[in-house]
Subunit: 403 residues, 2 copies
């Protein structure tokens, strides 16, 4: 699969996080000739927060992680495999998770309830957990700081590039570091977090405070993206704070902003690697009756196959945006609606704007990064969503028999 | 555009409806070399009922029709054009509708508030209503019984075949006739009726009773189909009862069943002409907590791009069905879920069924008409939805610059 044309130029430089070590290995869960297991080891003192898919058919690892989140500060581990999601695998799936957690705990000398696993890949096939546990000694021996790119690559499935983002924020003269990576390309309509995201920081913060912060920022970042309106059974976002910097960030606006930016960067990279994507689209909705109505409109546009295929064809077909506003369920008034492509006024007062020319719209649509602005003109509600176009390549990727 | 592989073998024989005459003409609204305007004239004594899109950005003709429905029994007319939807055309669009209604009323010698128009095609462009009104004399002169196929063809846009269905039902020894036709192929997720549907009967029934019957049957037919989850700004279903048979059908179960079957047949034909469709898919959901929950699950499966691309690829990827159940918002329990392909038991008790083989699933998926059964195992709620697959051809049709 060729690398997405929307991919960043290179993998970013990430700061090392004191208290964190990473390792990867090739367990052969499904893919051959590449690493497919990632282990993150966290020193004692770390707190772990997480948000997960709200799918009613969520996977065995998600259910296990949700049960384990809490006040613990002992040493912890994240163990992730790609190639098989261990979703809809019944009681056997639960048993696989337990075996992996027990074995990881034993190899690292930590408590099993501090091992958080995730699995991503095909749904409904038994997870060959013995292949994963057979690699634990190798993984433990390899653990080292800074191996972010290998870790980000090991959790990829249909992704065409590894996704990572980091920040160093100065808090009262001490640098506090954040480093995260993610995977996700299809089945992306996060209903908590995108498929798999791991964020680490050396900040000091209580687990409860980190959990609240993570949920708030998820609603502004990962929950505002969509590739194909399909929500994964495996969405997992874990954030670990090792506390090694000694800097308390509980009330720090600077830390909140830096963590937000890292999460938004990762969320955007997931869209930029949307299956078959050739355009990155920001949809900004204002003037709605409520923020919730604005979000409905933004997501209706972002998920509309007819809007997304028009964008793929570089067709400034703003009539389809009107259609999506209409079907969203949000309150709207035809004659108060305003539509913009970037700075170009397209439609107002219930019809195409007098100043608009089809040529101006067509020229705008040739860009790789697009902004669609919709003002409903009836209130103060606002929301932003990000999506990609819908192309032949999406069909090719997903209409192939599983292989 | 080639004719859909799911098209019926031929246009059906429809009964003539006493009190109804039809005509078509080539007005050149957008398409060249084909009829694009359809006129239906109804004798005095006819009642008209209708259901329409609930889109907040519905078209000018829809708003006009909704205002006109009522107790009238004077002679009436339906005037429909293809090629331009007169949607999001502001006050100018309203004026176009008024001019068309006034001119039609004058030519036919009927009241303007008994003229019901519809327009289907591109959104946001001014409707050249003068081209339509210029053809009214020709249309009036051509009016004749039984010209159903020409009428069904004149209202087509991206449709690859004309859609029609009829019935003759014996009520106390007298035959009562029903004949209907429809158009629709893309932007199909009806939220009242599919794009355009016209049904005629010589039954005798009050307007209020016909309206209630039509709404009830729409919820069981047109509102249970989807091609691409995008709801039109123009959805219009009109049903006229001329009363010419002299048979009162107000309490007739036989008439209700016949009308239901005609509507379901037309709804299925819209799906069978879904843009790019190669498979017709029935999704039956049972065992839900409520009928509403069952409908949510059926529509989540029917609208999932990942389910629909898997079907296009003849991949029995039932994991994606589990995913769609999970994201639907309906109450579900992984371990009580049962999935079937036709009579083949695929998954139960939270995992793939012991008796299931991948080969049996793959063989089943090669069929043109597919049935997916989902039982949630927690209640008595049921629903059925119909959809088609999502193929390269859908992208080709919709990613082309408007032409």
């Amino acid at each position: 699969m060729p690398i997405s044309p929307l991919a960043p130029a290179r993998f970013p430089d990430l700061p090392d996080i004191a208290g964190l070590r990473l390792a990867t290995a090739a367990a052969g869960v499904r893919y051959k000739g590449r690493d497919d297991v990632m282990l993150a080891a966290l020193d004692a003192g770390s707190v772990v927060a997480g948000v997960f898919t709200r799918s009613a058919t969520r996977s065995a690892p998600v259910l296990d992680c949700q049960a384990k989140l809490g006040d613990g500060t002992g040493p912890a581990a994240f163990l992730v495999n790609s190639g098989n999601s261990n979703a809809f695998t019944g009681k056997a799936g639960d048993a696989s998770v337990a075996r992996i957690c027990d074995a990881t705990a034993q190899v690292l000398g930590i408590a099993a309830d501090r091992v958080f696993t995730a699995s991503t890949g095909v749904i409904g096939e038994p997870l060959p957990d013995d292949r994963i546990t057979a690699k634990l000694d190798e993984l433990a021996a390899k653990l080292a700081p800074g191996a972010f790119e290998a870790a980000a690559r090991a959790i990829m499935t249909t992704d065409t590039f590894p996704k990572a983002a980091g920040a160093v924020v100065d808090i009262d003269g001490t640098p506090v570091k954040i480093a995260g990576f993610a995977k996700g390309s299809g089945m992306i309509a996060p209903d908590m977090a995108t498929m798999l995201v791991y964020i680490f920081t050396d900040a000091q913060i209580g687990q409860g405070d980190l959990q609240v912060l993570l949920q708030t920022l998820t609603d502004q970042t990962f929950n505002c993206i969509t590739v194909d309106s399909d929500t994964s059974t495996s969405d997992t976002l874990l954030c670990a704070a090792t506390g090694a910097s000694g800097v308390d960030v509980t009330e720090s606006a600077g830390f909140t902003k830096a963590l937000h930016d890292v999460m938004l960067d990762l969320a955007h990279q997931v869209v930029r690697d949307g299956e078959g994507a050739t355009k990155f689209v920001e949809i900004h909705v204002s003037g709605a009756m409520t923020n919730d109505d604005a979000r409905k409109v933004a997501m209706a546009i972002a998920n509309s196959p007819l809007v997304k295929t028009a964008i793929a064809g570089e067709d400034p077909n703003w009539g389809r945006i009107v259609m999506a506003v209409g079907k969203s369920g949000a309150r709207a008034d035809r004659d108060l609606l305003t539509i913009r492509f970037g700075d170009i006024l397209v439609a107002e007062q219930g019809w195409v704007a007098e100043s608009y020319t089809e040529q101006a719209g067509a020229d705008y649509m040739t860009r790789q990064d697009l902004q669609i602005g919709v003002d409903l003109g009836i209130g103060g509600g606002m929301a932003t969503a990000w999506t990609c176009d819908l192309t032949h390549q999406y069909i090719t990727i997903n209409a192939d028999y599983r292989s």
